[in-house]
Point group: C2
């Protein structure tokens, strides 16, 4: 017999981030079925808001896939990739590698541009990697959740477009938290999640296909992720799957909050609290893994200071301070903590709380 949690944990890991009271209340709003007129009006509203939050170009399709961020990744890849295509994937960490594997599963020949974990990719390296080959797609991760690194957007897109390659971007840990402008940067397709910068629970994956991507979509092998079928539901109101009312309502509420705050103001809030956290670390003689110019505002990769027991610190933070932070992934396991200050979690009070708690458990 399990018992559901009755006490709060402050979610400052790599996601999910905390939800606001309004988003929490939206989860409990009276349910509607997936084809109910009120439901469809909220879906239309959320789609319009997602297009604006992605800053999608005119004619783009933006919506939310019924799954987590990885389902968004698979939706984008599955609708743009067919056997024999050549894809360049920039791998600056765990999620770049996942994106490369996703393209391979859909039949692409993938060339990996590998960058040391903790560094951002240099656009010149992308230009060099593309100098000879003919690539159909270039894929990369905006904010690499495993390293806290932010990669450039517009500079890489410009290079890719010179070679007539589509640009696919993972915006899982940037959307709603860091400057992301698909139209201005020339991003052709992107995906994200609901539970980080946007501040909703997980379970829906925002996706964006610009007209340039829509024009190059392929016959999708997956049924669940088939954009033609998804469009026929999102826009044509034809049954495809039973989208979850509580998740949609919570996402729409989170998107309302995002737009009421204003995207630019929201980005600045994330920057401010990231900088405050970084300054607090520096004052303690601690450091972040990425160079200052490559640091994401949403996710902070903190080097575990000498003498600290990485796992014990996380356990004590959770047990004694009710604060969750994340561990390192892959080669960074044991070497970093991942502290997310995202969505409703990006506050000055939370910066103070996590620094104070870290002081106490590493004293």
């Amino acid at each position: 017999m399990s018992v559901l949690p009755s006490t709060e944990v402050l979610l400052l890991g790599p996601g999910p981030s905390p939800v606001s009271p309004r988003v929490g209340a939206a989860l409990g709003a009276p349910a509607r079925s997936h084809l109910d007129p009120e439901f469809m009006a909220i879906l239309d509203d959320a789609r319009a808001r997602l297009a604006r939050v992605f800053r999608a170009p005119a004619g783009a399709i933006a919506s939310a896939v019924s799954g987590t961020g990885t389902s968004g990744m698979e939706t984008v890849v599955a609708n743009l990739t067919e056997t024999g295509m050549c894809v360049l994937v920039v791998v600056t960490g765990y999620f770049g590698e996942r994106l490369a594997q996703m393209f391979e599963r859909y039949g692409a020949a993938v060339e990996r541009l590998r960058v040391q974990w903790g560094r951002a990719v240099d656009p010149a390296a992308v230009a060099y990697a593309m100098r000879d080959g003919q690539f159909d797609i270039v894929g990369w991760v905006h904010v690499e959740t495993s390293t806290g690194v932010v990669n450039p957007l517009a500079e890489i897109a410009a290079i890719a477009h010179e070679h007539n390659a589509l640009c696919v971007v993972d915006a899982v840990t940037s959307l709603g938290a860091m400057p992301f402008d698909a139209a201005a940067s020339g991003i052709d397709a992107a995906y994200s999640c609901s539970q980080k910068g946007l501040g909703a629970p997980s379970g829906l994956a925002p996706v964006m296909f610009a007209p340039s991507a829509l024009a190059r979509r392929v016959r999708c092998r997956s049924f669940y992720f088939d954009l033609d079928l998804l469009e026929s539901y999102w826009i044509g109101r034809k049954y495809h799957h039973t989208m979850s009312a509580p998740l949609l309502f919570a996402l729409d509420a989170a998107l309302c909050e995002t737009e009421e705050e204003g995207l630019d103001a929201r980005w600045q809030r994330h920057e401010r609290h990231h900088l405050k956290f970084a300054a607090g670390l520096a004052a303690r003689g601690w450091s972040l893994l990425p160079e200052p110019a490559a640091r994401a505002w949403s996710l902070n990769a903190v080097r575990v200071p000498e003498g600290a027991d990485e796992a014990a610190v996380r356990r004590r933070l959770l047990a004694e301070h009710r604060i969750e932070i994340g561990a390192g992934l892959g080669p960074l396991a044991g070497q970093i903590w991942r502290v997310g200050l995202m969505g409703a979690g990006s506050t000055e009070a939370n910066v103070t709380a996590v620094l104070t708690a870290l002081d106490e458990v590493t004293r």
Copy 2:
């Protein structure tokens, strides 16, 4: 600007079904991240409960995929099907056809055993269809949501197993509502949804793989639906995707309620209210589409009586009585209403409410 619903609608369509207060409250329990120890304990609890609710054989894997029922269908198909396999699919309606298409998308040569919509399949027809061919898999739908028909389980499984074919069953509209016993019936793999007989919101898809199916799994093309990766998360606690806390908590609460009621008692409750509803229809000179022996207890396909305006009746039920019922799909559009009495929605009061409301709007 969208406004979330503030009034209740009684969900008596083909799903989602209403949630109980306990399940609704579970949605709002304090969140945990997807690798939190408390979260994993609840996932373990839900997995054990799902195995029991499927009545899975020893050694089976039961869990919930992060998507809707169709994602469960795709997970089962994607992990058991490879190019060139031969699959027999019994098509008694819309969802049988969807299952056939799903197998085709994963490379199978599919033979369809087509049965008139509104009728159950005769196991003798399955035996006849299998007399010559060599099939790797036989797939069929237990309760066909488009017609309200229940198909046999054990009789078909016995025939399939004589031919060494795996049995894949769609239990989307039967799990938790009608007798389903994977072990006793010899079902090798099955999938369902959270929002019908189990009484949770949509967004998670229960799946069950018996050891016989696990032994014949293939290399999965999809990343999101890859059973090896899902197992490494469900059981190995290795990150694969960010499972949604509110959805898991609500599903676990719904499974607790299901088991506290008792599966047999729950099935009988569904039978009792189905029979009461059918008797009420008969008293009005109305009828159900399937023959009595083929009628599902969860979903009632009501023939639209002569002179009634099918769509107008549904609209008025919703607008004036705040009751949702469903329309017919495909060739049954305009000819039937689909009235679901499932999960927490299967009550005597709801039978009376929907009959009374139908009286008023068809008067």
